[in-house]
Amino acid sequence: MSEHEYTPKSKVGKWFNDRLPLLTLANHLTDYPTPKNLNYWWTFGGILTFCLITQIVTGLVLAMHYIAHADMAFQSVEHIMRDVNYGWLIRYIHANGASMFFLAVYIHIFRSLFYGSYKSPREVIWIIGIIIYLLMMAAAFLGYVLPWGQMSFWGATVITNLFSAIPLVGEGIVTWLWGGYSVDNPTLTRFFTLHYLIPFLILGLVVLHIWALHVPGNNNPIGIDIKKPSKDTVPFHPYIVIKDGFALLMFMIVFAFFVFYTPNILGHADNYIEANPLVTPAHIVPEWYLLPFYAILRSVPDKLLGVIAMLSAILILAALPWLDTSKIRSAVFRPLYKQFYWILVADVLILGYVGAMPAEGLYLLVARIATAYYFLHFLVVLPVLGFKERTTPVPLSITEPILGGSPNLAAVKKKDSFKDQ
C-alpha cells in the first residue's frame, strides 16, 4: 500500500505498529500523494463521507425515540418533533441530510463522467460506487417509509409493487416483502431493520471504494497517468485536507440553509397525514433524487418493460467503463464528448422535471424522448465517439503546459518514441 517504509519515532509506537500497523496506515493516508491540479469537484468524496457520518449519528439518535409500529410510528415522529429535546433539529438534519447526500453524490458521479474517472484502471472503484449509490437509494426509500405518513405508505406500496411485474413469481415476492397482503405493520418493522443495516453496509463499501482508489491513485482534471510521488503530486495532508475542509464548510452552509430556513421544502405535505390504506394521495411523487428514474418508469406504457427500463437506466452505469471506448479520460481534450456530456446533464434534469409532473400529454412525450436519449447516450453515442472523435493533444504531465518539459522522464521517452515511429 505505502510507497515508502514508515517507522514510528517513539518506542511505544514502534512496538504497537509492529503488532498492528495502524500508524503505517495513518501515515499512508496523510502522506498520500495526490495530483496537485485537483479542483473543487474533487472535494465531494470528503463531503460524502461527512454526509454518511451525519446520517449514521443522527439516525442512531432518532432510533432512540422512534417506535417501529404501524399504530405508533406516526405519533412517535411527532413526539420527536415536539417533545424530545432538540428532536426537531436532529430529525430535520436527518431528513434534509438525505437530500444533501444525494446532491453530493450526483455531483460526484457527474464529476466522474466529465473527467473519465470510471475508465481503466479505475473500473472497480466505479462499480463499488454504483453499488453504494444503489444502497443509498434503498436506504432513502426505506427511511422515507418509517414516519408512516400517507407518502410513506403509498410510496412503499408503489415501489414494492414494482416486483409484481416479474412473471410468475412476482406476486409471491411482493407478499413475501410485505409479510402480509398489503403494506402493514410487518412491512414497517422489517423496513426499519433494513434501514438501520444499510448505512453500515455502505460504510464498509466506502472503505473498499477508498482502498481501490489508493491503488492507482486519484484521477485528475487532465485525466493523465501521473507518477506518484513526483513534482505533479502534493501530500494529502495538509494540501487536500484544507481544500476539502473549505469545500465542506461551503457545503454545510447550504445544508444549514435547508435545515433552518426551509426544512420541509424537499418533502411532501401529504406525509404529515397519517397512513391510510383506503385513500391514495392525488399526486404520488417520489423524492426529488429519484425523479429521473421515476420518469423513465412512467414513460414506458408496459408494466414489466417500464420496470426493466428503470432498472437498466441505473445498471447501465456499471457497464460504462466498457461502453466508453475512448482512451482519453478527461472531457477537456474531447471536444465532441464535452458537448454530449452537457446534453446528458440537460437530459437528466429534464427527466427529473417531467418525473414530478403528471404523466400525460406533452410531459409524457418529453419523458419518452428524454428516456430514449438517455439510453442512446450510453449505448450509441459513447461507443461510437471513441472511434470517431478527434481529440486534442494531451499534455505529458500536469506541469508541462505551464513550465514546459516534463518531470516525468519515462513519459518524455515514450513521447519521443512515438515521434520516431
Binding site: 409493487n161 413475501w176 398489503s182 408494466k303
Partner: protein, 169 residues
C-alpha cells in the same frame, strides 16, 4: 498425484459439498420464510359486510386483508355500458357477467393492478375508476381501458350470505 480422473478423495469432496449445501439450505429457509405472512395475518382472511344502506350509484369501501374492496351498486346505465363493450376492444378481455355475479353489485379489490394505488371512483374517460398515480382508466366493470395497468381490477372471492350481506374471502 495420480493420473486417475476420479478417486476416493474427489468422491468425498463432492459428497461433503452436497451434504453441506443441504444443511445450509435448511438453515437459510427459516430465515427467508419468516418474512412470509404469519399465522395472525392469515387468520384475518374473511369479512362480512352489510350493504342494505347502499343506494344505486353509490360505492362503499371496506378493508379486507389490509386492502380496500369497492362494493358498488351500479345504476342501470352503468350496467348497460359495461355490457355493451365489445370484448375485442378490451386489453384484458373479460365479460361483465363473469365479473359481477349479480349485475347490480360490483365487488372488486380497489387496487390498481399497475402499482397498487387506490383508484378514484367516478373518474376517468370511461365513467368508472381512475388511478391518480400513473393514469390508468377503468370502466364501469372495473376493466382496464387505458393506461399502464396490465389487467382488470381483481374480483375477490365473495358470496351473498343473504340479500343484504356480502361475505368477502
Amino acid at each position: 498425484m495420480s493420473e486417475k480422473k476420479t478417486n476416493r478423495r474427489d468422491f468425498l469432496f463432492t459428497a461433503t459439498y452436497a451434504v453441506g449445501a443441504v444443511g445450509a439450505g435448511a438453515v437459510v429457509w427459516p430465515m427467508i420464510d419468516q418474512m412470509n405472512p404469519d399465522a395472525s395475518v392469515k387468520a384475518l382472511a374473511s369479512t362480512e359486510v352489510d350493504v342494505s344502506t347502499v343506494n344505486p350509484g353509490k360505492t362503499i369501501t371496506v378493508l379486507w386483508r389490509g386492502k380496500p374492496v369497492f362494493i358498488r351498486r351500479r345504476t342501470p346505465e352503468e350496467i348497460a355500458e359495461a355490457k355493451s363493450v365489445k370484448i375485442e376492444d378490451l386489453k384484458h378481455p373479460e365479460k361483465d357477467e363473469d365479473r359481477a355475479q349479480n349485475p347490480e353489485w360490483l365487488v372488486m379489490l380497489g387496487v390498481c393492478t399497475h402499482l397498487g394505488c387506490v383508484p378514484l371512483d367516478q373518474k376517468g374517460d370511461y365513467n368508472g375508476w381512475f388511478c391518480p398515480c400513473h393514469g390508468s382508466h377503468y370502466d364501469t366493470s372495473g376493466r382496464i381501458r387505458k393506461g399502464p395497468a396490465p389487467t382488470n381490477m381483481e374480483i375477490p372471492e365473495y358470496k351473498f350470505v343473504d340479500a343484504n350481506t356480502i361475505k368477502i374471502g
